[in-house]
Amino acid sequence: MQSFLNWLDARTDYRQLLAPIRMRVLPAGPRWAYSTASCLLWLFIVQLVTGLLLMLSYSPSTTTAWASVHFIEQTAAGHFLRGVHHFTSHALIILCGVHVVRVLLARAFQAPRELLWITGLLMFPLMLVWAISGNPLSGGLSGVSQIEVEGHIIGSTPWVGPLIQRILIGGEEAGHLTLTHLYFLHVGLLPLLVIGLLLFHIGQVIRHGLSVAELGGPQDDVSRWSAPNLTHLIAAHTSPLPPPRLKYYPYQTVRNMTVVTVVLGIISAIAGMHGAPLDAPADPTLPHTPRPEWYFRSLFELRRYFVGDWEFVATIIIPGAVLGFFVLFPMLNRKCSPRVSLIHRALVLLVGVGAWIGLTGMSYLRDWNDAEYLASSAETEALSARARDLADRSLLPPEGAITLLRDDPKTQGPLLFARHCASCHSHADASGQGMVASEPSAPNLHGFGTAAWISGKLDPQRIVSEHYFGKTKFTEGDMVSKIKELFDGIEEAEAAKMRDDLKLVAQALSAEAALPRAAAADHDAQAPIVTGRELLSGRLACTDCHKFRDQGELGSAPDLTAYGSREWLLGMIGNPQHERFYSGDRNDRMPAFAEDTEHPERNLLSPRELNLLVDWLRGDWYEPPTTSIPAQRRNATLAGN
């Protein structure tokens, strides 16, 4: 072994290359606090490795980005790696902040280390940009809205702003090129820039050796430690020999590695348990309130105080001035005595950190007290969970993930109902949950077609309530009077029998609707359904007015054949005045939403929208099994660990 290492050293000089670490001596001994730099470097390497691995399966375009990220999430390893990549980006930003504070406190920016300080500071905003350029790559709702807003902020810069915005977004609107451009930034340009600065930064650390604090306090002869240093360090090491405990390796190294292990352990635990977020696929038609990441919250809050033409003060002038102040800080601080410098630095730190925490906290407080924002973000989370459930179910069509929610009755139904129906109809359960029309003037359609809903319509009291015909002209009509007649002048015992019969009729009619969620119940209730059908056309004489199968005629009342079925509802909403429903002037104000079958584009609802609305009214949508596939997979992962 030794002879091999000698052989290797003779050819590579690796011992000399490693000398800055192997020979480094810390006269004041190792410190836990010195670990920030090493920890940053290791997390940076973790980002490079996990990022590189994610590139194996990621595909940047509006049709593939979300789908490929969801694909990555399907495997335990992919889920974990993406989680580590996501949470390490946050950890890097926090640690960058801690590192800057530590360097500031140690006055480690003093001559001749100004360039070390400046390159470090320049890396900080680059890291932030690097992080936010990664968010939209998943093609998710919040990431894409963020980059659009950030694009407009850049665009508001005088002169060059609009040009940079156009290049960043790849045109006027977010699309394929936005993702490829951000990808270029995220995996190409920014890594090169940051790695370049980082190498220079580390080179400077080696060149200048130890800072004042590391030497054990202010020294008169700083230059002793900042002379051309490689040979110097070795010389310092060999003659005279320092006490071994003061060596950087392994005494500082073991501290560094412990800190890195703890930090990475925390990141891995969060990544394994929660994974990186994946929002619903970006879609401008979905409701969403964008918010910046936590590290930009202070600027987001600041922008509130500079409105209109003054906005650029918050978005450009102040951040630029703060960065400039810090870059120039070593020059400003140079002539100060240690005591004045300490006051100087403490003040900067207090004001800086205080302002940052204050603005950030204020921004979050504002949101936590904003019921509308909270509702909107809960809605975004619900949409996101829904999109993931749908994507877990089957592979995507070539048009991509945007179709998941656009073709989902559960998502689109309420939006369509709110836009087209809710001015008259409510859609709310018994406790009032759901959509309540401000002035209901038509039946509440929650549970339409179920036996419970039909039972209510066949009840002499409830049919005239506002949930059914109460606010329509039918409240004076034949249906209401016939139902009332059924109960006219009969004994309580007979009335109870009548209620039971009507329940059977409701069951029979609900079976006509063939609701997917009632399939099992319908199947188990064949006998009552048959009895209900007989009552309908027999003793209760519904077919005097209504058509039901081969009994009765069309024209005087809605057809009860296939009542509430998909096809029946498509027809009813399409054109209620059709003779199958409320022919001619029997119809009470309900518009025809798809009357023109020849020219669907002239209708209020397109065939697609009409289908989505009907499926939603009938509760006909996919629901995932109670333990979803990713939950099972995650459990398996945890068990495996």
């Binding site: 996990t50 071994p244 890195v260 070539p398």
Partner: protein, 189 residues
């Protein structure tokens, strides 16, 4: 633990024993930190090897767009495109051409089908009516009309596929691809 690699770090004066333990600790923690991303990274990298192709529904037979009667007894092979749903990572593409087969009616009752992929390196073979053989343009493999290889370039004969005649004249075929370059027929996927 073997001694030699520690020698490197020892100063001539010798270090206290705690120094030795600290070396081990530093190296051990370093390995641990590296292992977690390395293992998950390797698993992610090897994902294509672990991913199993999902079985399609049914018996795997497809109805061909030609009937038994449409093919001449002992006539020339006919090239038929295979149209199936294609699964590509996260997408399903409906009704895509996924390959092609040569169908030939060997006698009144029998249809012989060959996958058009050359068993050598997977190029598509052409049927040359003038030569009465299949010819691969990539490396000049040739096969007789019965699929038997006629030179030593391909490792095996053309890959025959299972065919069934159903309902008195419908041609149903089980489409499969096989691994190239091997003397045996090994199904892919």
């Amino acid at each position: 633990m073997s001694q030699p690699h520690l020698d490197l770090h020892q100063t001539p004066s010798g270090e206290p024993r705690r120094g030795f333990m600290t070396h081990i600790l530093a190296a051990g923690i370093g390995l641990l930190v590296g292992a977690v991303p390395a293992v998950s990274g390797l698993a992610f990298f090897l994902d294509p090897l672990m991913r199993k192709k999902k079985d399609g529904s049914g018996d795997g037979f497809l109805k061909m767009p030609v009937s038994l009667e449409a093919l001449e007894v002992n006539g020339e092979p006919q090239l038929v495109k295979i149209i199936m749903n294609k699964v590509d990572a996260w997408n399903t593409y409906l009704n895509q051409p996924v390959g092609a087969v040569y169908l030939r009616r060997a006698d009144k009752e029998t249809i012989v089908a060959f996958n058009s992929r050359c068993p050598h390196l997977g190029c598509a073979v052409d049927y040359k009516p003038s030569e009465k053989h299949y010819f691969c343009p990539c490396h000049t493999s040739t096969f007789g009309v019965d699929g038997v290889k006629q030179n030593e370039i391909p490792p095996r004969d053309l890959d025959a596929l299972e065919v069934q005649i159903r309902n008195g004249g419908e041609v149903w075929l089980k489409f499969q691809n096989f691994r190239a370059t091997t003397p045996e027929k090994i199904p892919v996927g």
